[in-house]
Amino acid sequence: MKQLYYEVKKCLGCKSCEIACAIAHSLTQDLFKAFNEERLSLPRKKVYKSGDKNYPVSCRHCQEPKCVDACMAAALTYNIAKGLVEHDETRCVGCWMCVMVCPYAAIRPNLKARIPLCCDKCKDKDEPGCVKACPTGAIIWQEEVVVEK
């Protein structure tokens, strides 16, 4: 199962990944046209500066996702086969329980649309938009590494 990793020292904080993410989740898949869409596509990934480094933050698709447990609408589910936290917008009521419990604050609220923003690893594409867009190769898309706990 492929996951997203970040080589922090390469990240310039240029936010190309954020823009690519917003485009990848827009209807038109085009930067300029996306601005005119009825519901503005917002990035599901955010780059935060802490100390002198930049850190891209997005859903990690935890194997025991707290957001799925907390979802009172059963809109969030964990797809074991794909290793993916999936969000069904048609069930979501925008109660923000998922935002409240995410230990990474990786799920953010789209307040206007009343839905949470959650990375879907661009599941219908060959690779995530952020990976393609990163000019320094700081975002790594590879098979999961088992880290000893």
Partner: protein, 423 residues
């Protein structure tokens, strides 16, 4: 073959069933529910009443859930009594079931105060899909309604009724909305937002009588005022459903008391959800935290332990989130400190124009509570700092900043809590 019996078919019951089946495919699982409905999203009944959620989306699990997981489900069956000595549950219809291990996840029911006329037709609790359907059925002939109680349930009911073009008045005994979740300042933002959308909020008043000969005509308040209405929703808190153990040796306070394994004082009887009184992380004592996410957490641990594990539950805490007409609100742990209490420290940020209010409560250099209105995106981090008891002193100035994020706390996490994606 072992028989595991689960009383209750909502958040905690379902989480338990899933946790058991993850570990044990063999044992017989019997789920008993006094409702006439497969597991559904209880917290969505207000959205259902508001006509924002259709009935088919209210089911919590897909239709084939019970069959696929090899679970026997008995609906519309109420357990009257648990007999721990004989390892047996006895139902109201006199049927009996033996168990090797039992989970009591019976939930809670709305409290109805002793008020003259409150037993009339047209007075509802707001807890079950049946309540929502009964209320919905009266909407065509309902012009005005009163909601008693300004907690989350009351306000959600008021929201739903307002959405269905019913004139709504919320009668609140205390001086603020959401007094079990927010401080006075935060409540002000919520109240304002509700009033802007046509919901009348009357604080500092309580009902004394329901007026009407047969049907409801109006309610009378202690202030002497009366409001005409034909429908009343009672939302003055809930009470744990503990009747079934009242003559047994199972220990109960406000809820059934659970240890860190979610076990009662009887080793093969577990409890979880709104009926369960578990250790509260922020209060440092035992408390019933009747909340959906807590019910799921507890159900999961209880289920795992029923399947033979020894999973530890760190503890529950009060936490809630809601959105009223585009205003998001999150409350975590302790939300109000007694005036003049010097052992607590408060960090606060208030921006009336942007509708933002954030408050953190610290004690002994640990965050023990948070209220977030308008800007809730860091709430998960605050919850984590609370649960993992991380001292925020070295990044205190960042806590309430707009861009406070996970990387800011990363190096302070205990080693085992770190999940590495940054290389």
């Amino acid at each position: 073959m072992k028989q595991l019996v689960i009383i209750g078919n909502s958040a905690a019951g379902i989480a338990a069933v899933e946790a058991i089946r993850k570990r044990d495919k063999e044992s017989k699982i019997l789920v008993i529910s006094d409702e006439d409905y497969p597991a559904y999203c209880r917290c969505l009944i207000s959205y259902y009443l508001a006509a924002e959620v259709k009935e088919e989306k209210i089911l919590y699990r897909p239709e084939g859930f019970y069959k696929e997981n090899n679970i026997e489900i008995l609906l519309n069956k109420k357990v009257e009594r648990v007999d721990p000595k004989k390892n047996r549950v006895i139902c109201e219809d006199k049927t009996q079931f033996n168990y090797d291990s039992l989970l009591i996840a019976t939930g809670a029911h709305p409290k109805f105060p002793e008020i003259k006329g409150l037993k009339k037709k047209g007075v509802f609790g707001f807890r079950t899909i049946k309540d929502a359907k009964d209320i919905a059925g009266l909407l065509p002939v309902t012009k005005a309604a009163c909601v008693l109680g300004g907690g989350l349930i009351g306000l959600k009911a008021a929201y739903a009724l307002a959405k269905r073009n019913v004139e709504v008045k919320v009668i609140i005994k205390s001086m603020q909305v959401l007094s079990q979740m927010l401080d006075f300042e935060a409540a002000h933002f919520v109240q304002k937002r509700l009033e802007e959308h046509g919901i009348d909020i009357i604080t500092g008043s309580d009902i004394v009588e329901v007026i009407g000969n047969g049907d409801i005509k109006a309610i009378k308040l202690d202030s002497g005022k009366a409001f005409a209405c034909s429908l009343i929703v009672v939302a003055k808190g809930v009470e744990a459903n503990t009747d079934l153990i009242k003559d047994s040796e199972i220990k109960v306070n406000e809820g059934i008391i659970a240890n860190n394994l979610l076990q009662t004082n009887i080793a093969n009887i577990f409890t979880a959800g709104d009926v369960c009184e578990s250790y509260d992380l922020t209060l440092g004592g035992f408390s019933v935290n009747a909340l959906w996410p807590i019910a799921v957490e507890e159900g999961r641990v209880a289920g795992a332990n029923m399947a033979g594990e020894k999973l530890n539950y760190d503890g529950s805490l009060g936490m809630n989130s809601i959105d009223f007409f585009g205003l998001p609100v999150v409350s975590l742990g302790i939300y109000k400190v007694k005036e003049g209490s010097s052992s607590y420290e408060e960090l606060k940020l208030r921006d009336e124009k942007k509708n933002i209010y954030k408050k953190l409560i610290l004690k002994d250099n640990l965050i023990v509570g948070a209220i977030l209105v308008g800007d809730i995106k860091s709430s998960g981090i605050f919850l984590r700092l609370m649960r993992e008891k991380i001292n925020p002193s070295s990044f205190k100035d960042k806590l309430l900043q707009e861009n406070f994020s996970y990387p800011d706390i990363m190096s302070f996490l205990k080693e085992k809590e770190k999940e590495k994606v940054y290389v």
